[in-house]
Amino acid sequence: MATRVGSTRPAKKQGISRGGPKVPGPNGKGPRGNGSRGEEDDGGSRRLSPKAYRLAMWIVLAAVVMMFAALSSVYIILSASNDWQPVSLPRMFFFSTGAILASSWTLHNARSSLKGGRPKRYRQWLAATLVLGLAFVASQLLAWRELVAEGLYLSSNPHSSFFYLFTGIHGVHLLGGIVGLLYLLFRFRKPERWLDPEGLDVSSGAVALYWHAMDVLWIWLFLLLLVWR
């Protein structure tokens, strides 16, 4: 027991090239880091815990929220200017709101199906979410057409600028969510991935978090454009 671990370890035989501690660290075993990965570590993959991906998604969302907080402040401040001409909301926006709310519901159902072990259902709800997401994007483009038909362009007046700005930047972020949904659907096609339910849960959880956040963000922007004129 009292011998030094380092002296009995065959580490030096393993062709360690330049570098490597002369005295190996006191342990080379057990869960490495704070992650939950233990002995089954295959050494080739990252040793991030599933929680890390969720955390990373929250961090991304913090950045997104800061950006929209800045843009919202600009909106609120400019709305006090004398040149502010309120524009009425395109009616398509109400459809958009319905679509994105419904998509959050279907995505929630997809996650429940996954947890309940019903992969087929999971895929169906996921596809429904994707369709609703695309419908949201389409409705936003139709709303732009509505504005154009009224003669309101990006540069027409401060309020109309924000319609394009908010929908544009939110839309770009939402496209990120759509890429995430496509990734989940694509990943499902590979049966060996399906055998890794934990991994599937992690990735779908991160995508769902992002998607719901985009939903909440849209509601905020929608209310801002609707109420704060």
């Binding site: 330049r18 570098g19 005295v23 991030l48 600009v74 200017s81 990006l154």
Partner: protein, 619 residues
């Protein structure tokens, strides 16, 4: 026991191909060095620009034939035009703040040492890490292209300063350099924001998830706390700049009016009357200032916090004493970071804000003096009674404290509205922020370079060259920036290309000359640093694994560390990061990997100075 000792060791071998190993590398150490090289190149560009500015200020009207050849538009017959000078100011500031002070401390040293110091094999998301560097690199290329693509317009970039105030920045016809040059400037900054956000995401996730066993938050070196806080600041402030940049870009290129008020009359054109200047109404130029400084003030701390972390780390190591008040240091870092988000208004006292908001901003600003003083006194407390080893790294760390105090004191002056109103836009401000955020941060990085160079390259930097470098630079920067305070108090305005027209400033000319001579000498001595850096990589004296008798995890591994940092054996941490001068210990320091309970004498012969000799034992 036997089974455990034969457990497989997972070495992650480095990729074989040159491109994967050195160019598009996923190794945080290579990426860190890439960031440092980027900063070393960028700082040369920025320094050259400051040299040109000094030439113009001290010897106004002189013909510099080389300038005339290089920039026939900006310096016809070798004489700088005022616009050319203004574009130098802008590009010097932009390149220094973004591509030097933000990249080297965080992207460079943070990337290299944060994973090693917390006992991780790499960053949490290596691919994102690689992307963050290459995105930043593209941003740098774009800002460099602004130098050349504004050339036809007789400048080397936009002329509005690194703050890009609207409406000057929002109108393409507002002046030379404000056309394509300004567009490139915005694009470059936007790209830089994305790169920094990717980096911040990685830093935060890595620190929270990848710490090795036993590395509790309060056992982390103060450097890690500094990098973590910096990453949080970057995460929350860069999106605001990115949003503002998008709005500014739309104002310029899509005809919107976020920052452009109605009824503007610029360069002989009234808004809306001529096709060349379309109608703009309803924007607010002050809004840009709010958004910019909401980012800009945290950015100041992004530049200096890593320097504070490195200074704490190095002072403790070379004073052979634990950091005085570790907990207080951690909370002071947080307090500085947090307060940094509520003081942006002190950059805008003269923008016509309500005296009540000005007072609020002023009180909040002055309150930053409290955590800053906590840090300063703790640094002094760390030094007090220590057995100080005056290595070059230590000299630069002490220099950091000196510069931080000298530059910070004038922050208390400028933080008060009544004093800021007359001082604003004078050389007093220039002197203040150059000392505290520019030079102090750079001194932190010099200290870090001399300190960690043996770990990064397995060789020492030359100490004698280093000491020459330190003393000339240290005296030089004081000679440059202390007279600037005087100039500012007399009323010399910033950003003016020359002062020959101003009778009341003529008495300052000897001081201007002194500053320029000091600047030229200080810049020249940096060549010595570059030489030392390159020469030592190949010819420096070989360094052992733990040359400074330090305690943290980076010193338990080889110099330079292997591809996976710890050769497959992740260290376990048993104690805090600064256990120096421990009574009863065989050396005057105890490594973090040393178990708490030692039942028998530690046998370390033949094991170098890694101080890491006993069987791993939990406590």
């Amino acid at each position: 026991m036997a089974g455990e000792t034969h457990e497989a060791v997972h070495r992650h071998e480095p990729p074989k191909s040159f491109i994967r190993k050195y160019i598009f590398s996923l190794d945080h150490k290579v990426i860190g060095i890439q960031y440092i090289i980027l900063a070393l190149v960028a700082v040369l560009v920025g320094m050259t620009m400051s040299l040109l500015m000094r030439l113009n200020l001290s010897w106004p009207g002189t013909n510099w034939p080389i300038l005339g050849t290089l920039f026939p538009g900006g310096a016809p017959d070798g004489m700088m035009t005022p616009e050319f000078y203004l574009s130098l100011v802008t590009m010097h500031g932009t390149i220094m703040v973004f591509f030097v002070l933000t990249t080297a401390p965080q992207g460079g040293f943070g990337n290299y040492f944060l994973p090693i110091q917390i006992g991780a094999e790499d960053m949490a998301f290596p691919v994102l890490n690689m992307l963050s560097f290459w995105v930043t690199f593209v941003g740098f290329i774009v800002i460099l292209s602004a130098i050349f693509y504004s050339g036809a317009e007789s400048t080397v970039g936009p002329i509005g300063g690194w703050t890009g105030y609207a409406p000057l920045s929002a109108l393409k016809n507002a002046g030379p350099g404000q056309g394509l040059g300004m567009d490139l400037w915005i694009i470059s900054i936007a790209i830089f924001c994305v790169g920094s956000l990717l980096g911040a995401l990685n830093f935060i996730t890595t620190l929270l998830n990848m710490r090795t066993r036993g590395m509790s938050l309060m056992r982390m070196p103060l450097t890690c706390w500094a990098w973590f806080t910096t990453a949080v600041l970057a995460l929350l402030s860069f999106p605001v700049l990115l949003g503002a940049g998008i709005l500014l870009f739309l104002d310029r290129n899509a005809g919107t009016s976020f920052f452009i008020p109605g009824g503007l009359y610029v360069t002989g054109l009234l808004s809306g009357v001529d096709d060349r200047f379309p109608l703009h109404t309803g924007g607010s130029p002050i809004l840009w200032q709010h958004l910019f400084w909401f980012f800009g003030h945290p950015e100041v701390y992004i530049a200096i916090l890593p320097g504070m972390g490195a200074t704490s780390h190095i002072l403790a190591t070379f004073a052979r004493k634990p950091v005085f008040g570790y907990r207080a240091m951690v909370f002071a870092i947080f307090a500085i970071g947090l307060l940094g988000f509520f003081v942006w208004g002190h950059h805008m006292f003269i923008s016509g804000m309500s005296p009540y908001s000005a007072m609020t901003f002023s009180i909040l600003t002055l309150s930053i003096g409290v955590p800053s003083a906590v840090k300063t006194f703790n640094w002094l407390g760390t030094l007090w009674g220590g057995r100080i080893r005056f290595t070059t790294a230590m000299l630069f760390a002490i220099g950091f404290v000196s510069l931080f105090v000298a530059g910070g004191i004038t922050g208390l002056v400028l933080g008060q509205t009544s004093l800021d109103l007359p001082m604003h836009d004078t050389y007093f401000v220039t002197a203040h922020f150059h000392l505290v955020m520019g030079v102090a941060s750079i001194f932190g990085m010099f200290a870090a370079t001399y300190f960690w160079f043996p770990k990064m390259f397995g060789r020492f930097m030359s100490e004698s060259l280093g000491k020459v470098h330190f003393w000339i630079t240290f005296i030089g920067v004081y000679l440059i920036f202390v007279p600037m305070h005087t100039m500012g108090m007399v009323g010399m305005p910033r950003r003016f290309a020359q002062f020959t027209e101003y009778e009341f400033l003529s008495s300052l000319h000897p001081l201007v000359m002194l500053v320029s001579v000091a600047a030229i000498v200080t810049i020249l001595v940096q060549i010595l640093f570059y030489f030392n850096l390159v020469w030592s990589i190949f010819k420096g004296q070989k360094a052992p694994d733990n040359p400074w008798d330090a305690t943290t995890l980076e010193w338990t591994t080889a110099s330079p560390p292997p591809h996976d940092n710890f050769a497959g054996h992740l260290p376990v941490v048993y104690r805090g990061p600064y256990e120096f001068a421990v009574p009863g210990a065989p050396n005057d320091f105890v490594m973090q990997t040393e178990p708490e309970v030692v039942e028998q004498p530690i046998a370390v012969e033949g094991e170098g100075t890694s101080g890491n000799g006993d069987e791993g034992r939990k406590h």
